[in-house]
């Protein structure tokens, strides 16, 4: 103690006001005060709940009652019982839907990037579903698919025999397709707008040059547009795949909480936590899902880097963050 005091003694003693106005102190002061608010929010609302979630996953507990520490038993339960992974399998439907959705979005984006009659109207119309609240969309489609309602009537006008039409939500071989279709309808416009934004940045003189060289529209798309926007395409693929793993709203609202074999992994997690009151198991499910999402993201990155030998370094690094935020709240 005495030594440090003597060591410090030769330094000129600054008053607090002088010290605080030193440039290096000022710099750090600004950095710290600006960073502390978002960091604190991140810590309080993301990392602390996340840590708690991992802690919960090691207990057999409900919200109100802790039955005891069980170690990894919650995890073995998830991996030894088939129903949790059956739920995971449903994500494949949503991933398939996501690919169709991206292809459609890319198609419309390309069309609407060129001069089209009433182009803005079409852009607006296609983007509109994204602005509607997900719960409202659920109710819209619940009526849309009900026997003898909108979809059956429209198909009836087109000449289909209403009696031979399937039950869109009851028939368990097609009800997941029906639900995926609502999700495609909702998010396609958002993907399209992102693609249009990216296509706008392509230098228009390239099209002229290509036209002079005799390239048709398809070739222009393949050799000019697609390579120029591959970063944004990649980003959308990653977001859609991770989004598919966490599909929740369509089955929850339309099927009343995932009945008739439409319970996705998220629904199953919700049921486990809130209906079965097995909060520990649900937290373990969330951790498992997060690990799967991280693995999926890494695999995609590796795939695009080494198999396609294309740099994706400029893809923003935040893709896995969105689902994790959701998880932390379970």
């Amino acid at each position: 103690m005495a030594q440090t005091l003597t060591a410090k003694a030769p330094k000129p003693k600054l008053s607090f006001r002088e010290w605080i106005s030193l440039p290096r102190v000022q710099k750090w002061f600004v950095i710290v005060t600006f960073a502390i608010v978002p960091l604190l929010l991140l810590l309080v609302f993301t990392y602390i709940p996340f840590g708690k979630m991992i802690e919960f996953s090691l207990y057999d507990r409900s919200y109100t009652k802790i039955r005891g520490f069980v170690g990894l038993k919650n995890y073995t339960r998830i991996f030894t019982r088939s129903d949790y992974f059956d739920a995971m399998f449903l994500s494949v439907y949503y991933m398939g839907g996501a690919l169709i959705q991206l292809a459609l979005a890319l198609y419309f984006a390309t069309l609407l990037s060129f001069k089209t009659r009433a182009g803005n109207l079409f852009k607006g119309t296609i983007f509109f579903p994204y602005l509607i609240n997900g719960i409202a969309i659920g109710f819209i489609f619940k009526f849309f698919y009900t026997r003898g309602f909108v979809l059956d009537t429209v198909l009836g006008f087109l000449g289909f025999n209403p009696e031979s039409l399937p039950y869109w939500l009851r028939d368990q071989s097609i009800n997941n397709y029906s639900l995926v279709a609502t999700s495609v309808w909702r998010y396609m416009g958002q993907n399209m707008v992102m693609f249009i934004g990216a296509i706008m940045s392509v230098d228009p003189t390239l099209y002229e040059a290509a036209e002079i060289d005799g390239a048709n529209r398809w070739k222009q798309f393949l050799y000019i547009i697609l390579p120029s926007i591959k970063t944004i395409v990649m980003l959308n693929v990653i977001l859609s795949i991770t989004g598919s793993l966490s599909a929740f709203e369509p089955p929850y609202v339309i099927m009343g909480g995932g009945a008739s074999g439409t319970a996705t992994y998220f629904i199953k997690m919700h049921q486990t936590a809130h209906i079965d009151q097995r909060v520990g198991t649900a937290c373990a499910m969330a951790v498992v899902l997060m690990i799967i999402i991280i693995i999926a993201t890494i695999l995609q990155k590796l795939f695009f880097r080494f198999v396609l030998k294309e740099g994706v370094d400029d893809v923003p690094e935040r893709s896995p963050k969105k689902p994790r935020k959701k998880l932390a709240r379970v």
Binding site: R147, Y167, R170, Q172, G256, G257, A259, I275
Partner: protein, 444 residues
């Protein structure tokens, strides 16, 4: 900073004071509503599930209570998705003074609520008071009581040529078939999509299916393979078999995934539905849903045990009073609960079995003449948590949110994807695994 600190300290002291002060409360049974504590001043909040009554009947009740206790302000707070959200509110604290007790395990009751007194003495005056019993003390006062039966449309049954109400599962299925053949009505409306309406089938497991009130809390927990066919049309097997058969014979609604709970009330009122398997609480709602209230009838569940029919009875949501409020608030809450039970007429107007034993039975129980309404007997001492533990472990969740398993019966029945015996075998396996895991003794 100092101000905040001192404020926090004050609050802490207040809370501590409130905790010590709540030691001496009046005896609930001896409270005389309208005579005792008439000058008490308190603000109390009642958290409950009746969103439909918040702005209609509750203001009338509150006004009537205020005449007796002018200085007590009662606020009604309701939650739409009560079963789930109320648990979150409960754990969050600060939910008010009185709440309808959500699905807690019995041993957690003392952590949140004050007892009304000993079940033994209270049960002389009140029905179903043992619904929330822990350690011999009653923590919940039922708001109203239910008897479990089937709500049906008399006119539809008449048109179908059914002269006598069905008393066995076979007779019931035959009646449904008659409705399908002779009328345009949907014989049995499952309300599949709403979910909880399917879970309502669990309510018949007790006396309705066995003639024995001890079944649910004392027998099934130790029973080996409780879901096996007994061969005489009784027991849990028979209850769910009715649903499976009705689905398999297409005696239910055509597109069950898009049913609408609010819509079904008007449909049965107008004779578009034959019957629905719901507790007696549903009766008054069906009557009020349209102009043909007189057509609505209530019958007992079609299972006959040794030549006699029984009905499971039980408490609806029960009032619990918070242990973390001031003594005055607790006394005011006790007064309100006592008044609500004995003088508000709530149970009667909701078509419920009266909680106060001197209360009057509503007219709908006419069809229950000669049928005993038997409540579920509480679990034996030391076994109080068994059913809840088995429910959680087997994930069958009887009477406790297990809607999905009943929905699956409809799906498998309708689509023919799994035989009923396979479903019951699966339930038996899950039940005995849970018994094994929890180390519960099984009677062979």
């Amino acid at each position: 900073m100092k101000k905040i600190l001192s404020l926090a300290l004050c609050l802490l002291l207040l809370v501590a004071f409130a905790m010590t002060a709540s030691a001496e409360l009046p005896n609930f049974l001896d409270l005389k509503v309208g005579e005792d504590y008439t000058d008490i001043t308190a603000d109390i909040t009642v958290l409950n599930h009746r969103t439909d009554l918040k702005d209609t009947k509750f203001p009338e009740y509150i006004a009537a209570f205020k005449e007796l206790y002018p200085n007590v302000t009662v606020t009604i707070d309701t939650i739409t998705d009560y079963a789930e959200d109320s648990l979150t509110r409960l754990t969050g604290g600060n939910w008010g003074d009185i709440m309808m007790i959500p699905a807690l395990d019995k041993d957690e009751l003392p952590n949140f609520f004050i007892p009304y007194g000993e079940v033994d003495t209270l049960s002389e005056k009140y029905n179903f008071i043992d619904a929330w019993m822990w350690d011999g003390l009653a923590y919940g006062m039922p708001s109203t009581g239910n008897a479990q039966g089937i709500v049906y449309n008399k006119k539809v049954f008449e048109q179908a040529g059914i002269t006598e109400l069905p008393k066995t599962p076979d007779e019931f299925i035959a009646a449904l078939k008659a409705i399908k053949e002779n009328t345009d009505a949907i014989p049995l409306y499952t309300n599949y999509a709403a979910g909880w309406t399917m879970g309502a089938w669990d309510a018949y497991l007790g006396a309705s299916a066995n003639g024995n009130g001890e079944y649910l809390n004392q027998v099934i927990i130790h029973e080996k393979d409780p879901f096996s066919d007994r061969g005489d049309g009784t027991g849990p097997y028979a209850v769910y078999k009715i649903l499976y058969d009705a689905a398999a014979e297409k005696l239910i609604e055509d597109d069950y995934t898009t049913t609408d709970w609010e819509g079904c009330k008007g449909m049965i009122n107008q004779g578009q539905i034959g019957c629905m398997v719901l507790g007696s609480w549903a009766f008054s709602q069906m009557v009020e849903a349209g102009p043909n209230g007189d057509d609505i009838g209530y019958m007992s569940f079609p299972i006959t045990v040794d030549g006699k029919q029984y009905a499971s009875g039980g408490a609806d949501y029960s009032f619990g009073i918070s242990k973390d409020i001031t003594e005055d608030e607790q006394i005011a809450s006790m007064l309100f609960v006592k008044w609500f039970t004995e003088q508000s007429g709530f149970a009667y107007s909701e078509g419920g079995v009266p909680i106060d034993k001197s209360g009057e039975y509503p007219a709908l129980y006419a069809a229950f003449d000669g049928i005993d309404i038997i409540p579920d007997t509480p679990a034996l001492a030391g076994e109080e948590t068994y059913l809840a533990d088995l429910n959680a472990e087997s994930e069958l969740r009887f009477n406790n949110g297990g809607d999905a398993k009943v929905q699956e019966i409809v799906e498998h029945g309708f689509n023919g994807t799994k035989s009923f015996d396979d479903i019951m075998a699966d339930w038996n396996a899950r039940w005995s695994d849970a018994q094994d895991y929890l180390g519960i003794e099984v009677n062979e």
